[in-house]
């Protein structure tokens, strides 16, 4: 049985999820650039200011450090701010407030003050944008103690995960794969999956392919193609980047013996490295091959004319699958 909301895009699902969160808790406020009348440049907050008022959907001055810093103050006052960063590349002016304040405040106060702040970041590439509009910044936050980082990959998760993130008393970096905002409609599940659990999207015996957010559709596609060559991929949507549902990955790898991790962020010192390190430690004797990574390269995000070859695309994932099968 599925949710009465029925079919919708990820953009609409996020909008509905935010609406629900604001209805459920009067302390939830949305802050960001152009989130009011415009509904954000991606229209994710469309109509919310009209319905909840300018006090709860706040068009802020143009300053990311202040968007995050004032959210910290509002949280101390008892609010539950949801900050929108307009594009991934523009989170960095707010980085100090996120890393030194949001991430640490609960700890510094010996657990007496909570920081239930959700920071929404439309992320990743593939939309033909200019520089700073296609970055994958999750690793910076995953490496920061005190933060949680999640990424939705389908409308139903978008609808539920944004509500779970807002309801979480810990600060959550919410990665929205902007390329998928309008990539098609699907049903909203009747029930949420716990926020920090991975999900097996497709079982398979030969290779585990794990990703999150924007890369998940590519993994499913790869599984279809590989199946024609008789290679069964087990597709894992991690959903949470930090904490990682390590048990789920290890459990799968114990069966397949092979793991390919996929993300758009640069490879080095990225999420794939952590997963490789953990899985290799916990499933050392089950691994038939080293964990392989299909990721963005160690370069700035390229000009859009180059992005499709630069990104971890279907071909590159299939190539990694072939490579790992050769061990």
């Amino acid at each position: 049985m599925t949710h009465e909301l029925g079919n919708m895009t990820m953009a609409k699902a996020l909008n509905e999820g935010l609406r629900k969160a604001m209805e459920d808790d009067p302390k939830v406020v949305i802050m960001g650039e152009d989130v009011g009348k415009l509904g954000g440049v991606f229209r994710i907050t469309d109509g919310l200011q009209k319905d909840f008022g300018e006090d709860r959907v706040i068009d802020t001055p143009l300053a990311e450090a202040a968007i995050i810093g004032t959210a910290v103050g509002m949280a101390i006052r008892g609010y539950r701010p949801v900050c929108e960063i307009q594009f991934d590349g523009f989170v960095f002016p707010g980085f100090d407030q996120i890393v030194n304040q949001v991430a640490k405040f609960h700890n510094r106060s010996a657990g007496l003050v909570k920081m239930p702040i959700t920071i929404r970041i439309p992320s990743g590439g593939g939309i033909g944008a200019v520089e700073h509009h296609s970055e994958s910044v999750e690793t910076y936050f995953a490496h920061t103690a005190g933060l949680k980082v999640v990424a939705c990959a389908n409308p139903s998760d978008a609808y539920w995960m944004i509500q779970e993130a807002i309801a979480d008393d810990d600060p959550v970096i919410f990665i929205e794969p902007k390329r998928l905002y309008h990539a098609g409609k699907s049903e909203i599940d009747d029930e949420p999956t716990p926020l920090y659990q991975a999900r097996v999207l497709r079982p398979g015996a030969h290779v585990t392919v794990a990703g999150y957010g924007m890369t998940v559709p590519t993994l499913l596609e790869a599984a279809k193609v590989a199946a024609d060559d008789g290679i069964e991929l087990e597709v894992l949507d991690l959903r949470s980047v930090s904490p990682i549902d390590t048990d789920a990955v290890v459990e799968s790898v114990r069966r397949t013996g092979r793991l390919v991790v996929v993300h758009e962020a640069p490879q080095s010192f990225g999420v794939g490295a952590e997963i490789a390190a953990r899985v290799t430690q916990r499933a050392f004797y089950s691994l038939e091959a080293p964990v392989l990574r299909v990721t963005g390269y160690d370069t700035p995000y390229p000009p859009s004319r180059l992005e499709h070859e630069w990104l971890p695309n279907l071909d590159r994932v299939l190539d990694a699958v072939d490579q790992i099968m050769e061990y």
Partner: protein, 370 residues
């Protein structure tokens, strides 16, 4: 935060040297001796950069550009400021200063790569003393400030030698005035008495946010608290923009320190070709600003006061056509970069790990396309 606490006063004590009707007015503080021929030259600039803009918008519609940030309505601010620069001065634009680029002799095609997605800028800022477009709001004001620190250390201010004394011109928008970077650049420029002029095009909007979201007092007033003068000018008056920027740049070159100029203007088009202004502002707003059009007033002056006739305007039109054609065809001919070029110039010396990634990439691409 959420109510318009005080609306920003409409246009108080704003320097204007040419009225919307095309009448010259004098301002003792900003004497401008300029020949009608020079004014005709400015007219030409205004028309040509508007034409570049029009073409770029068309190219975006045709899918030749991924995005375009239109300067429509801001031509006078950009031409006035741009023409006030000396060749050896340095300009730091945002992403909208196509008019300034024109004044720096930057071929319009040089600007298109960023918007077409064939490069990330890809030119040498020192070739025309015009920096790469900067998209991260406000960041370039600190670069301009640092550049000015370099100018001082090179002994290129206050020598009295016009070929040596150098000024820096930093552009930013009304929205950018809220960024920490911009205010820090004011701190440094003021405390260091640096040869930098801050040129704020207050086009009334930061995407969907009116300027009152950023400040309840006029932006030019921001400067005084940092220890340097601020002045508001009619940003649709190319003569005012020229005269005031010229004065400010002179002061900078003469070691008199920074100035903040607020050019009061209007963004006639959507924020970019992706934007839909109907969601946040009334069309009537643009209609009233149309009456203050930066080009019409110069045309009016030239016809009524300076006796320029249709043949002149026809010439400029013809030149605009040629330029448009150059932009159209040149854009389509911009070469697509080679896939492996994504690995170039990440570092001056490529680290082994990256070289390995590059080699894998190259052989893989070859394989796939084979």
């Amino acid at each position: 935060m959420t109510e318009r606490v005080h609306a920003v006063q409409p246009e108080p004590n704003m320097v204007q040297l040419l009225t919307p009707e095309g009448q010259r007015v004098d301002n003792p503080a900003y004497p401008l001796d300029i020949t009608d021929e020079e004014i005709a030259g400015l007219y030409r600039d205004l028309v040509l950069v508007r034409r570049i803009d029009t073409e770029a918008i068309a190219l975006q519609r045709q899918g030749e550009l991924g995005l375009w940030a239109s300067l429509l309505g801001q031509e006078a601010a950009q031409i006035g400021a741009g023409r006030a620069l000396k060749p050896h001065d340095m300009a730091f634009p945002t992403y909208r200063e196509h008019g300034v680029a024109w004044c720096r002799d930057v071929d319009p095609l040089t600007l298109l790569g960023l918007f077409r997605g064939t490069n990330l800028g890809g030119f040498d800022p020192r070739e025309h003393n015009f920096n790469l477009y900067t998209i991260v709001i406000g960041a370039q004001t600190l670069h301009a400030t640092g550049y000015a620190m370099g100018v001082v250390r090179d002994g290129a201010v206050g020598t009295g030698d016009p070929s040596r004394d150098t000024a820096v011109l930093a552009f930013f928008g009304d929205g950018a005035s809220s960024q920490g970077d911009v205010n820090e650049s004011f701190v440094w420029a003021g405390a260091g008495n640096l040869p930098v002029v801050f040129f704020c095009q207050n086009n009334q909007w930061a995407i969907s946010e009116p300027v009152e979201r950023q400040s309840r007092v006029p932006l030019y007033q921001r400067a005084s608290g940092f220890g340097f003068p601020g002045i508001r000018i009619d940003g649709n008056d190319v003569l005012a923009c020229l005269a005031v920027t010229r004065k400010a740049l002179d002061d900078a070159r003469n070691a008199q320190g920074p100035t903040l100029i607020e050019a009061y203007t209007y963004r006639m088009n959507p924020h970019t070709t992706n934007d839909d202004p109907r969601r946040y502002r009334l069309g009537s707003e643009a209609d009233t600003w149309k009456l203050k059009d930066p080009i019409e007033r110069v045309r009016a002056y030239l016809t009524r006061e300076a006796g320029y006739e249709s043949d002149f305007f026809a010439e400029v039109e013809a030149e605009a056509k040629k330029l448009a054609e150059h932009v159209r065809s040149g854009c389509r001919e911009l070469p697509d970069p080679a896939p492996e070029s994504a690995f170039d110039n990440v570092h001056v010396t490529m680290p082994p790990e990256l070289r390995e990634q590059r080699d894998d990439f190259v052989s893989f691409v070859a394989e796939v396309s084979a």
